[in-house]
Symmetry: C2
Subunit: 143 residues, 2 copies
Protein backbone atom coordinates (compact mmCIF):
# COMPACT_ATOMS: atom_id res chain seq x y z
CA UNK A 1 0.00 0.00 0.00
CA UNK A 2 1.24 3.48 -0.75
CA UNK A 3 0.49 6.65 1.20
CA UNK A 4 -1.54 7.87 -1.74
CA UNK A 5 -5.13 6.76 -1.59
CA UNK A 6 -6.26 4.80 -4.60
CA UNK A 7 -8.44 6.72 -6.99
CA UNK A 8 -12.05 6.19 -6.25
CA UNK A 9 -11.86 5.34 -2.59
CA UNK A 10 -13.37 8.51 -1.20
CA UNK A 11 -16.81 8.91 0.25
CA UNK A 12 -18.02 10.64 -2.89
CA UNK A 13 -16.48 8.06 -5.20
CA UNK A 14 -17.90 5.24 -3.14
CA UNK A 15 -21.32 6.82 -3.36
CA UNK A 16 -21.13 6.88 -7.14
CA UNK A 17 -19.82 3.35 -7.42
CA UNK A 18 -22.36 1.93 -5.05
CA UNK A 19 -25.12 3.58 -7.04
CA UNK A 20 -23.84 1.83 -10.16
CA UNK A 21 -22.22 4.77 -11.93
CA UNK A 22 -18.91 4.57 -13.74
CA UNK A 23 -15.87 6.16 -12.18
CA UNK A 24 -14.47 8.06 -15.12
CA UNK A 25 -11.51 10.41 -15.17
CA UNK A 26 -13.67 13.54 -15.63
CA UNK A 27 -15.87 12.54 -12.71
CA UNK A 28 -12.88 11.83 -10.52
CA UNK A 29 -11.57 15.30 -11.30
CA UNK A 30 -14.83 16.82 -10.10
CA UNK A 31 -14.76 14.67 -6.98
CA UNK A 32 -11.18 15.67 -6.22
CA UNK A 33 -12.10 19.33 -6.47
CA UNK A 34 -15.08 18.90 -4.16
CA UNK A 35 -13.02 16.93 -1.69
CA UNK A 36 -10.14 19.39 -1.74
CA UNK A 37 -12.37 22.41 -1.16
CA UNK A 38 -15.28 20.77 0.56
CA UNK A 39 -17.47 23.81 0.93
CA UNK A 40 -19.17 26.54 -1.00
CA UNK A 41 -18.00 25.89 -4.56
CA UNK A 42 -19.97 27.25 -7.49
CA UNK A 43 -20.28 25.17 -10.66
CA UNK A 44 -18.00 27.64 -12.44
CA UNK A 45 -15.35 27.20 -9.76
CA UNK A 46 -15.63 23.43 -9.96
CA UNK A 47 -15.14 23.64 -13.71
CA UNK A 48 -12.14 25.91 -13.46
CA UNK A 49 -10.40 23.89 -10.78
CA UNK A 50 -11.40 20.64 -12.39
CA UNK A 51 -9.68 21.64 -15.61
CA UNK A 52 -6.45 22.03 -13.69
CA UNK A 53 -6.72 18.31 -13.02
CA UNK A 54 -8.38 17.17 -16.24
CA UNK A 55 -7.94 19.83 -18.94
CA UNK A 56 -10.70 18.80 -21.34
CA UNK A 57 -13.32 18.63 -18.61
CA UNK A 58 -16.50 20.09 -20.05
CA UNK A 59 -19.06 22.27 -18.41
CA UNK A 60 -21.77 19.77 -19.20
CA UNK A 61 -19.92 17.07 -17.30
CA UNK A 62 -19.54 19.32 -14.28
CA UNK A 63 -23.26 20.03 -14.22
CA UNK A 64 -24.10 16.41 -14.83
CA UNK A 65 -21.83 15.22 -12.04
CA UNK A 66 -23.09 17.81 -9.58
CA UNK A 67 -26.64 16.83 -10.43
CA UNK A 68 -25.79 13.17 -9.99
CA UNK A 69 -24.21 13.72 -6.58
CA UNK A 70 -27.09 15.94 -5.55
CA UNK A 71 -29.56 13.25 -6.55
CA UNK A 72 -27.63 10.77 -4.44
CA UNK A 73 -27.91 13.17 -1.55
CA UNK A 74 -24.18 13.44 -0.91
CA UNK A 75 -23.82 17.11 -1.85
CA UNK A 76 -26.36 19.93 -1.66
CA UNK A 77 -26.79 23.25 -3.43
CA UNK A 78 -27.16 26.14 -1.02
CA UNK A 79 -27.46 29.86 -1.35
CA UNK A 80 -25.07 32.22 0.41
CA UNK A 81 -25.30 35.96 -0.01
CA UNK A 82 -26.08 36.95 -3.59
CA UNK A 83 -23.60 34.86 -5.50
CA UNK A 84 -25.77 32.11 -6.96
CA UNK A 85 -25.84 28.49 -5.91
CA UNK A 86 -22.84 26.70 -4.49
CA UNK A 87 -22.39 23.13 -3.41
CA UNK A 88 -21.43 21.65 -0.12
CA UNK A 89 -21.36 18.23 1.46
CA UNK A 90 -24.75 16.91 2.44
CA UNK A 91 -23.35 15.27 5.53
CA UNK A 92 -23.85 16.51 9.04
CA UNK A 93 -25.08 20.05 9.42
CA UNK A 94 -24.29 23.47 8.10
CA UNK A 95 -24.96 26.48 10.28
CA UNK A 96 -24.78 30.05 9.06
CA UNK A 97 -25.60 33.56 10.11
CA UNK A 98 -26.21 35.49 6.88
CA UNK A 99 -26.30 39.28 6.84
CA UNK A 100 -29.08 40.63 4.62
CA UNK A 101 -27.24 43.88 4.05
CA UNK A 102 -23.62 42.99 3.28
CA UNK A 103 -23.89 39.27 2.60
CA UNK A 104 -21.40 38.31 5.29
CA UNK A 105 -21.59 34.69 6.36
CA UNK A 106 -20.64 33.60 9.86
CA UNK A 107 -20.49 29.93 10.68
CA UNK A 108 -21.38 28.55 14.06
CA UNK A 109 -21.29 25.12 15.58
CA UNK A 110 -24.11 24.72 18.08
CA UNK A 111 -26.43 22.06 16.93
CA UNK A 112 -29.87 21.94 18.45
CA UNK A 113 -31.65 19.87 15.86
CA UNK A 114 -30.72 16.33 16.78
CA UNK A 115 -33.85 15.51 18.71
CA UNK A 116 -36.09 17.27 16.21
CA UNK A 117 -34.51 15.29 13.39
CA UNK A 118 -35.50 12.06 15.09
CA UNK A 119 -39.04 13.29 15.69
CA UNK A 120 -39.50 14.37 12.07
CA UNK A 121 -37.93 11.22 10.79
CA UNK A 122 -40.52 9.19 12.68
CA UNK A 123 -43.40 11.51 11.93
CA UNK A 124 -42.92 11.77 8.16
CA UNK A 125 -41.09 8.53 7.41
CA UNK A 126 -38.28 10.67 6.09
CA UNK A 127 -34.70 9.43 6.17
CA UNK A 128 -32.63 12.46 7.17
CA UNK A 129 -29.03 12.73 6.00
CA UNK A 130 -28.10 16.32 6.69
CA UNK A 131 -29.46 19.71 7.59
CA UNK A 132 -29.01 23.40 7.03
CA UNK A 133 -29.77 25.97 9.68
CA UNK A 134 -29.45 29.59 8.67
CA UNK A 135 -30.31 32.78 10.50
CA UNK A 136 -30.87 35.96 8.53
CA UNK A 137 -30.59 39.46 9.82
CA UNK A 138 -28.03 42.19 10.28
CA UNK A 139 -24.45 41.66 11.33
CA UNK A 140 -22.84 43.94 13.90
CA UNK A 141 -21.35 46.24 11.27
CA UNK A 142 -24.58 46.72 9.35
CA UNK A 143 -26.96 47.48 12.19
Amino acid sequence: MTDEPKPGTSWLADSLRQAGYKLTAPRLAVLRVLEAEGEHLSPAEVLERGRAIYPTLSRATVYRTLELLTGLGVIRPIYLGDGGPCFTYARGGHHHLVCSACGAVIEFNECVVGELAQTLSDQFGFQIKSHLLEFYGLCGDCQ
Copy 2:
Protein backbone atom coordinates in the same frame (compact mmCIF):
# COMPACT_ATOMS: atom_id res chain seq x y z
CA MET B 1 -45.34 48.58 18.65
CA THR B 2 -46.83 45.65 16.85
CA ASP B 3 -45.92 44.29 13.41
CA GLU B 4 -49.56 43.63 12.71
CA PRO B 5 -50.39 45.48 9.47
CA LYS B 6 -53.38 47.77 9.37
CA PRO B 7 -56.13 46.75 6.98
CA GLY B 8 -55.32 47.96 3.49
CA THR B 9 -51.59 48.16 4.04
CA SER B 10 -49.15 45.34 3.55
CA TRP B 11 -46.00 44.50 5.33
CA LEU B 12 -43.98 44.55 2.14
CA ALA B 13 -45.37 47.88 0.96
CA ASP B 14 -44.76 49.43 4.35
CA SER B 15 -41.19 48.17 4.30
CA LEU B 16 -40.54 49.89 0.99
CA ARG B 17 -42.23 53.12 2.02
CA GLN B 18 -40.46 53.28 5.35
CA ALA B 19 -37.13 52.79 3.60
CA GLY B 20 -37.91 55.78 1.40
CA TYR B 21 -38.69 53.99 -1.86
CA LYS B 22 -41.49 55.01 -4.15
CA LEU B 23 -44.57 52.84 -4.32
CA THR B 24 -45.00 52.52 -8.06
CA ALA B 25 -47.53 50.45 -9.92
CA PRO B 26 -44.95 47.91 -11.18
CA ARG B 27 -43.61 47.46 -7.68
CA LEU B 28 -47.06 47.04 -6.24
CA ALA B 29 -47.74 44.33 -8.82
CA VAL B 30 -44.67 42.46 -7.64
CA LEU B 31 -45.70 42.88 -4.03
CA ARG B 32 -49.18 41.64 -4.74
CA VAL B 33 -47.78 38.52 -6.36
CA LEU B 34 -45.48 37.85 -3.44
CA GLU B 35 -48.26 38.42 -0.97
CA ALA B 36 -50.72 36.25 -2.86
CA GLU B 37 -48.34 33.33 -3.14
CA GLY B 38 -46.06 34.02 -0.25
CA GLU B 39 -43.69 31.16 -0.74
CA HIS B 40 -41.28 29.63 -3.19
CA LEU B 41 -41.72 31.86 -6.21
CA SER B 42 -39.00 32.04 -8.82
CA PRO B 43 -38.24 35.37 -10.53
CA ALA B 44 -39.75 33.99 -13.75
CA GLU B 45 -42.96 33.12 -11.92
CA VAL B 46 -43.11 36.53 -10.32
CA LEU B 47 -42.72 38.10 -13.75
CA GLU B 48 -45.40 35.96 -15.32
CA ARG B 49 -47.93 36.49 -12.55
CA GLY B 50 -47.00 40.13 -12.20
CA ARG B 51 -47.82 40.73 -15.86
CA ALA B 52 -51.32 39.45 -15.21
CA ILE B 53 -51.67 42.44 -12.90
CA TYR B 54 -49.49 44.98 -14.72
CA PRO B 55 -48.97 43.86 -18.32
CA THR B 56 -45.90 45.92 -19.22
CA LEU B 57 -43.99 44.81 -16.14
CA SER B 58 -40.41 44.23 -17.22
CA ARG B 59 -38.06 41.53 -16.16
CA ALA B 60 -35.55 44.13 -15.00
CA THR B 61 -38.10 45.61 -12.62
CA VAL B 62 -38.86 42.21 -11.16
CA TYR B 63 -35.19 41.57 -10.47
CA ARG B 64 -34.70 45.07 -9.14
CA THR B 65 -37.65 44.80 -6.79
CA LEU B 66 -36.65 41.37 -5.54
CA GLU B 67 -33.14 42.66 -4.92
CA LEU B 68 -34.53 45.67 -3.11
CA LEU B 69 -36.73 43.60 -0.84
CA THR B 70 -33.89 41.19 -0.21
CA GLY B 71 -31.60 44.05 0.76
CA LEU B 72 -34.25 45.25 3.19
CA GLY B 73 -34.29 41.77 4.65
CA VAL B 74 -38.02 41.24 4.11
CA ILE B 75 -37.71 38.41 1.60
CA ARG B 76 -34.95 35.84 1.14
CA PRO B 77 -33.76 33.74 -1.79
CA ILE B 78 -33.57 30.04 -1.05
CA TYR B 79 -32.79 26.94 -3.07
CA LEU B 80 -35.11 24.00 -3.01
CA GLY B 81 -34.26 20.82 -4.82
CA ASP B 82 -32.55 21.46 -8.14
CA GLY B 83 -34.40 24.48 -9.42
CA GLY B 84 -33.00 27.94 -9.41
CA PRO B 85 -33.48 30.38 -6.58
CA CYS B 86 -36.91 31.18 -5.28
CA PHE B 87 -38.04 33.82 -2.84
CA THR B 88 -39.87 33.59 0.41
CA TYR B 89 -40.70 35.88 3.29
CA ALA B 90 -37.81 36.61 5.60
CA ARG B 91 -40.07 36.71 8.61
CA GLY B 92 -40.30 34.07 11.23
CA GLY B 93 -38.99 30.68 10.27
CA HIS B 94 -39.18 28.33 7.34
CA HIS B 95 -38.91 24.63 7.94
CA HIS B 96 -38.53 22.10 5.18
CA LEU B 97 -37.83 18.46 4.63
CA VAL B 98 -36.31 18.24 1.15
CA CYS B 99 -36.01 14.93 -0.67
CA SER B 100 -32.71 14.59 -2.49
CA ALA B 101 -34.13 12.13 -4.96
CA CYS B 102 -37.46 13.54 -6.10
CA GLY B 103 -37.23 17.11 -4.85
CA ALA B 104 -40.38 16.90 -2.77
CA VAL B 105 -40.66 19.55 -0.09
CA ILE B 106 -42.53 18.90 3.12
CA GLU B 107 -43.10 21.75 5.54
CA PHE B 108 -43.20 21.30 9.27
CA ASN B 109 -43.87 23.62 12.13
CA GLU B 110 -41.82 22.62 15.16
CA CYS B 111 -39.42 25.36 15.98
CA VAL B 112 -36.50 24.53 18.21
CA VAL B 113 -34.26 27.44 17.42
CA GLY B 114 -35.64 30.21 19.65
CA GLU B 115 -33.15 29.82 22.45
CA LEU B 116 -30.25 29.30 20.08
CA ALA B 117 -31.20 32.47 18.22
CA GLN B 118 -30.88 34.44 21.42
CA THR B 119 -27.54 32.88 22.22
CA LEU B 120 -26.12 33.60 18.78
CA SER B 121 -27.53 37.07 18.79
CA ASP B 122 -25.64 37.82 21.99
CA GLN B 123 -22.50 35.98 20.99
CA PHE B 124 -22.02 37.55 17.55
CA GLY B 125 -23.83 40.84 17.98
CA PHE B 126 -26.08 39.72 15.15
CA GLN B 127 -29.66 40.99 14.88
CA ILE B 128 -31.67 37.98 13.78
CA LYS B 129 -34.83 38.50 11.73
CA SER B 130 -35.64 35.07 10.39
CA HIS B 131 -34.31 31.60 9.93
CA LEU B 132 -34.35 28.63 7.62
CA LEU B 133 -34.13 25.09 8.86
CA GLU B 134 -33.95 22.38 6.23
CA PHE B 135 -33.41 18.67 6.52
CA TYR B 136 -32.19 16.74 3.50
CA GLY B 137 -32.61 13.09 2.87
CA LEU B 138 -35.03 10.66 1.31
CA CYS B 139 -38.79 10.87 1.53
CA GLY B 140 -40.86 7.80 2.21
CA ASP B 141 -41.49 7.09 -1.46
CA CYS B 142 -37.84 7.36 -2.50
CA GLN B 143 -36.22 5.19 0.15
